[in-house]
């Protein structure tokens, strides 16, 4: 009797423990590998970091000096990409999630093209951006061409995550909105988008991260010039392009390459923090105090 009971307890207890072990193990593995990577970057790059590194121009092909113009170009490229991709992506996601049924042919077509876009290699985007934005539209090697190319690239991520976030809002809320006589536009603004905010922000973060990390697409569009840009029509080197050039093309550039990677990560932390804060404070307040 007691034996049978203990067997039953084991039978319940064993899979539970295994699962816990597996999940904790995976999480620790993931965190461990990433901390290893970050630690490595810190160890090799921190020595090269200083305020003057952030605020001066590169010298001697980037081996010496800083990254100020590159930082500015990166932010401008990112700004253009986000400004172009977010409205477009959000509108598409709203259409897919709120207006079209899953059987709509147009919806499926758009969805398919998004999934394809997500898998088009970044270098193909680069060549396309070069042919279309730089040459066909006459934007040349410029921050604008680079930003727009990146916008095309991050669209699938933005749309798919935003769509998923909207779909995850329970239908009850839509019904309640309709019962209150809200138009769909109003319901979107006051209920659905705020409710989906955490998903929207996660998508934005993924998109921004992907855009910041991009190299191949930018070499051919925003270019290689490491001067301080004076307008969006100037060519400007992005941080990731700088890192690639320093590590693969410039002998003796490794130290500054690591330092630049650290700056990039710092920038990312800043952007992540800001958008999470925005999501919590701005969108959440809207939902609570209509």
């Amino acid at each position: 009797m007691a034996e049978a009971e203990s067997l039953a307890v084991t039978r319940r207890w064993l899979p539970e423990a295994l699962m816990t072990l597996a999940v904790w193990g995976s999480a620790l593995l993931v965190a461990g590998i990433f901390l290893w990577l970050l630690g490595d970057l810190l160890w090799r790059g921190a020595g090269h970091l200083s305020w003057s590194f952030l605020f001066s121009s590169p010298l001697n092909a980037g081996r010496a000096g800083g990254i100020a113009p590159i930082l500015v170009s990166t932010l401008l490229i990112l700004g253009v990409a986000v400004a172009a991709a977010v409205p477009l992506g959000l509108a598409t996601a709203v259409l897919l999630a709120e207006f079209l049924s899953s059987h709509s042919r147009f919806g499926r077509l758009v969805g398919l093209s998004l999934d394809v876009l997500a898998g088009v290699p970044s270098i193909v985007f680069g060549l396309f951006g070069n042919a279309f934005f730089s040459i066909f539209l006459g934007l040349g090697f410029s921050i604008l061409s680079g930003g727009l190319t990146l916008a095309c690239m991050v669209l699938p991520i933005l749309v798919r995550t935003a769509e998923a976030a909207l779909r995850a809002v329970p239908d009850d809320w839509r019904l309640a909105g309709a019962a209150l006589g809200l138009s769909r536009t109003a319901a979107l603004r006051h209920i659905l988008l705020p409710a989906a905010s955490s998903g929207l922000v996660a998508g934005l973060l993924l998109g921004v991260g992907r855009a910041m990390a991009e190299t191949a697409a930018l070499i051919f569009t925003s270019g290689y010039v490491d001067r301080m840009p004076s307008s969006l029509f100037d060519s400007g080197r992005a941080l990731s392009v700088h890192i690639y050039d320093l590590s693969m093309n410039v002998a003796g550039g490794d130290g500054n390459a690591y330092a630049s990677a650290l700056v990039l990560i710092g920038l990312l932390i800043l952007i992540n923090g800001t958008s999470l804060w925005l999501a919590e404070h701005w969108l959440n307040r809207r939902i609570l105090t209509p």
Binding site: A61, G62, N249
Partner: protein, 274 residues
């Protein structure tokens, strides 16, 4: 509400930048250079010095490969193309101006006891006839052959020198840029590769575990590339569509003058003989 304010501000900034752009464009004279990634850092540095000496002039350098330099110079997209090899027969319609020279040397890991390889041995290693270091006086280890990707000018030079076809080569690793070659060999005790001599010399002096091998009895050093005794070297060229005029002419003359020799040496290339 706040979102609206934010978008308005963003739009304002954008418009402001577009306006400043049109003003900025009107003032400056611009020279566009595109091409070889090997040459791009050097061209950028020369461009910066040229800009300082000629206020109101802008030199924009874009990287992307020698063939891009040829295409863009031909199509007029660039004023000057950067090409890190001698022009081929079918490219002789372009004008080329050498600004520096660069040698290509064989490198192995520092711990490798092999001190010298004959041309025959190098060919046998690269064509897969010798696959173990023991056959050339090294340890009993398989050789990791590092080759360059198709189309790279260093590969073309290497193949031409040893009279090989790329399809004959049996490589274990194929690389792109120069530093990738150095890092690959530094990270693998059994690797052999070929890279730009100046950069290899510099990296070795910084403690990176690589070693340059002499070729045909001539030590692989910047000095021997300079005096012309090293057999495997290439010119680094600026190319133009027609005989260069005006600003392009001035830039090319400046790049070939002694006043940029320190910049050439800082990129580990060999300046032209004075």
């Amino acid at each position: 509400m706040r979102l609206k304010a934010l978008t308005t501000t963003l739009c304002g900034i954008l418009i402001l930048m577009l306006l400043t752009a049109s003003v900025a464009l009107a003032v400056e004279q611009k020279l566009v250079l595109t091409g070889s990634s090997t040459l791009a850092p050097l061209a950028t540095e020369i461009g910066k010095r040229f800009e300082r000496q000629n206020p109101g002039v802008r030199v924009d350098v874009q990287s992307g490969g020698s063939s891009r330099g040829i295409t863009d110079a031909r199509s007029g997209l660039a004023d000057i193309g950067l090409v890190s090899r001698a022009l081929k027969e079918e490219e002789k319609d372009l004008k080329s101006f050498t600004v520096a020279r660069d040698g290509i040397g064989m490198i192995v890991h520092k711990s490798n006891p092999v001190r010298e390889l004959s041309d025959r041995q190098i060919i046998d290693i690269y064509t897969g006839k010798i696959t173990n270091w023991r056959a050339v006086g090294g340890p009993d280890q398989p050789i990791t052959v590092v080759n360059k990707a198709e189309g790279r000018s260093t590969l073309e030079l290497f193949l031409h020198h040893f009279r090989l076809k790329n399809s004959d080569i049996k490589a274990q690793v194929v690389i792109g840029e120069n530093q990738q070659g150095i890092k690959t060999v530094a990270g693998n005790r059994n690797a052999i590769g070929y890279v730009s001599i100046g950069t290899a010399e510099y990296e070795a002096s910084q403690g990176v575990p690589i070693k340059l091998l002499p070729m045909a009895g001539v030590a692989a050093s910047v000095e021997n590339v300079r005096n012309g005794s090293f057999p495997l070297a290439r010119p680094l060229n600026l190319v133009t569509k027609a005989e260069p005029q005006g600003l392009a002419r001035r830039f090319i003359d400046f790049s070939r003058s002694e006043s940029v020799h320190d910049l050439v040496e800082a990129q580990y290339f060999v300046p032209l003989a004075r």
